[in-house]
Symmetry: C2
Subunit: 331 residues, 2 copies
DNA sequence: TTGTACGCGTTATCAT
DNA sequence: ATGATAACGCGTACAA
C-alpha cells in the first residue's frame, strides 16, 4: 500500500508537503497540490490510521463490548451504534462477552491495547467492582448502555416503568389473575407488581411467578395455574421469546387468547406482528438509546473537561395487540 | 497509559530490554525480568497494538463487513466470527452495509485505512465488479461468506440442495400442491423446483409462487390459492420470518396445520421450537461456516504463498417438526 | 546478557 | 510555500 513518502518520491516533493495536501492544508502551491492529489488518487492512497493515532491524534475507534450479539435486541443495538459512530467518522471494534465476567476482563484489556478513543459497554454485571476499576484505568470516556451504572454515563430503559405499563394495561383489560414469567430481581417485575398493587389492594393473592425457562416446566406451571383458577389471567413475560413460548403452550392447552389469558411480551420483536394472535409487547427505543450513547461518547471526546455524569433512563412504550386486548377498541 | 520506555526509565534498564521481557524472550536476567514484570503489572501495562503493527507486524484486526447485523442469521454469524477470531488473538472491526453498495465501498476504504490483516465479507451483490476490484487492491486475504464468489475464497450454503431437501420432504409427507414464498432468483427456489419436478412430472401445474413480503398481499394470495384447490399444500418459505407470517395468516384463515397445509421455514431460528405447532425449518451450519471462514483467513495470513482458491459449499439440514409432519412417525 | 541505533507512517514544529 | 527534523511506541539488527 502506498505511503506519503512514496507519493513524495514520485511527485518530487517532500513528505510533509504530501501530508499538507492530503489534509487539505491551504498553504500549498495549486500545481503541486494537483500533482500530489492525482498521484494519490492513481495509487488509491489511504492514510494509515495506526500511524496517525501514534502521533497523538485519535484512533477513531470505539470499543463496543456487549453480552450477546446473538440476541436480537443487542444485535439491533450494535447496528445503530455502528451507524451513529460511522456518521461521526468512528469505526467500532466489537466484542462479545457471552455473559462471562472473565472474558469481559479480557475484552477490556484488548480494547485498551487498541487505544480506542471511547467505549460502549454492556456490563455482565452492572454492580460488579471489577469492570469499574478497569474502566477507570482506561482513562477514556465510557458509556454504559442498557444498564444503570452509578458513576458512569449510562443510558438504559426504565424497566420499572415498563413493568408498570404492562401491569396497568392488564388490569384495564379486566384480567383478574396475574402471572409473571421471568426473574423477580428484574426491575420489570418490581414495576409490574407495584403498579398492580396500587390498583388492587388484594393483588398479592392473585399473582403467580414462573422463573424457569424450560418449556416442560413452564407447561406444568401453567397447567397447575389454570387448574386452580378459572379467572382470566394476564401474563407478562420478560422477553418476547418467553412470551411466544408461553403462547405456544397455551394454544396447545386450548386456552383462548385473549379471552382466558392475555399475554404481553418484551422487546417488540418483528415477530409480534406476524403471530396469530398478534403479540402485545413492550418496545424499547433502541435506536434512540444507541444514538444518545454514541453522541454522548463523542461529546466527551470533544470536551474532556466535562466531568458531569449522565444517568438517563429512557421510556418504554406498550404496543398493544390482539394477544392482550380483551375489550374491543380499548388500548 | 504507561509505555515500555517509561517502564525502562522506572526500572533503570533500556527499552528493548523491557520489550524482550514482555515478549517472553528467554535471554534476559531473571532479576531484571522480575523487576520489569512487577513494574508492568503495577502500572497495568498494555502494549500499543498500533505501534506494534506499525513496525511491520500484524494489526491483529480482521475486518468484518456484513449486509445486516439486525438480521438474526448475520448476528449469529458475527458472533461466531468474533469468537473464532478471538481464539486466535484477533479482534474484529465491524461494518454494516445495510445492503447499500455505495456504503460498502466506504467500508472497504475504512477497513483499508486500519490496515486490517484480513477481511470477512458478505458482499451486497456477489456478482458486482466493484467490490472485487477494491478487494484486489486491499492486497490482504479476503474470505466471502454466505455467498459463492468466484476467484475469492468463499464459504456458503448450498441453497439449491437446501431447497431440494424441502421439496422432497413435502412430497414425502404427501402434500400435493406446492407453494413457494420468496424470490424466484433464489437458488433455494431452483433446488425446490428441480427436486419436485423429478418426483412428479406434472408438478408444474401444482406450483404457486408468492413473491411479496406484505402481509395483506400474502393473505390475498393464500386465500385465492385455497379457494382454487382443496388438496393439501406444502409451503416452503425463504426464511422463518416469512414462514411465521404465513402461519399466522393460515391460522386466521382456519387452515389446519399440518393437515391442510405444511410449512417449512428457513434458518431454524430459536422461535421454531416455541411456536405451536412447532415450525419445520432448514438449518444452516452457521457456527461451522464462521469457524471455517476465520480459520481459512488465518491460514492465508500464515501462508501468504498459498494461492489456491477455496469454494466451499456447506450442507443444510432439515429440522422437521409438527408444522410439516402430516404422517406420524415419519421424518 | 544488555544497550544503541534505526525504522515503521504520520503529524507538528521549526527553519528556510 | 516548502523542506528538515523530531516525535509517537514498539520491534529488531547490531554492537558491546
Amino acid at each position: 500500500m502506498i505511503t506519503m513518502a512514496e507519493i513524495a518520491r514520485l511527485t518530487g516533493v517532500s513528505q510533509p508537503t504530501v501530508s499538507r495536501v492530503l489534509n487539505g492544508n491551504k498553504t500549498v502551491n495549486p500545481e503541486i497540490r494537483e500533482k500530489v492529489l492525482a498521484c494519490a488518487r492513481e495509487h488509491d492512497f489511504q492514510p494509515n490510521v495506526l500511524a496517525q493515532s501514534l502521533v497523538g491524534s485519535r484512533t477513531k475507534l470505539i470499543g463496543v463490548i456487549v453480552t450477546d450479539i446473538g440476541n436480537a435486541f443487542f444485535a439491533d443495538l450494535v447496528k445503530y451504534i455502528e451507524q451513529e459512530a460511522g456518521k461521526a467518522g468512528y469505526s467500532i471494534i466489537l466484542f462479545n462477552t457471552g455473559y462471562d465476567a472473565e472474558h469481559e476482563k479480557e475484552c477490556l484489556d484488548v480494547v485498551r491495547r487498541y487505544r480506542v478513543d471511547g467505549l460502549v459497554l454492556v456490563p455482565v454485571d452492572e454492580n460488579a467492582v471489577q469492570w469499574r476499576s478497569m474502566v477507570r484505568k482506561l482513562e477514556i470516556p465510557v458509556v454504559v448502555i442498557t444498564r444503570k451504572a452509578s458513576g458512569v454515563d449510562s443510558y438504559y430503559l426504565a424497566h420499572d416503568e415498563a413493568g408498570a405499563l404492562a401491569g396497568r394495561h392488564l388490569a384495564e383489560q379486566g384480567y383478574e389473575e396475574y402471572l409473571f414469567l421471568g426473574n423477580t430481581r428484574d426491575m420489570k417485575y418490581r414495576g409490574f407488581v407495584d403498579a398492580l398493587a396500587k390498583i388492587r389492594p388484594d393483588f398479592g393473592a392473585h399473582l403467580t411467578v414462573i422463573t424457569t425457562k424450560k418449556t416442560e416446566e413452564i407447561r406444568q406451571a401453567l397447567e397447575e395455574h389454570f387448574k386452580k383458577t378459572d379467572h382470566c389471567t394476564g401474563i407478562f413475560t420478560y422477553n418476547d421469546r418467553r412470551a411466544i413460548q408461553a403462547l405456544g403452550i397455551l394454544e396447545e392447552m386450548g386456552i383462548r387468547i385473549p379471552e382466558q389469558a392475555g399475554v404481553i411480551g418484551f422487546d417488540n420483536t418483528y415477530i409480534c406482528e406476524y403471530l396469530y394472535p398478534r403479540l402485545s409487547s413492550i418496545a424499547q427505543p433502541i435506536e434512540e438509546m444507541a444514538a444518545l450513547t454514541v453522541q454522548r461518547l463523542i461529546h466527551r471526546l470533544d470536551h474532556p473537561d466535562d466531568k458531569s455524569v449522565i444517568d438517563h433512563p429512557l421510556h418504554a412504550e406498550l404496543i398493544s395487540r390482539e394477544s392482550s386486548l380483551r375489550k374491543r377498541g380499548e388500548k
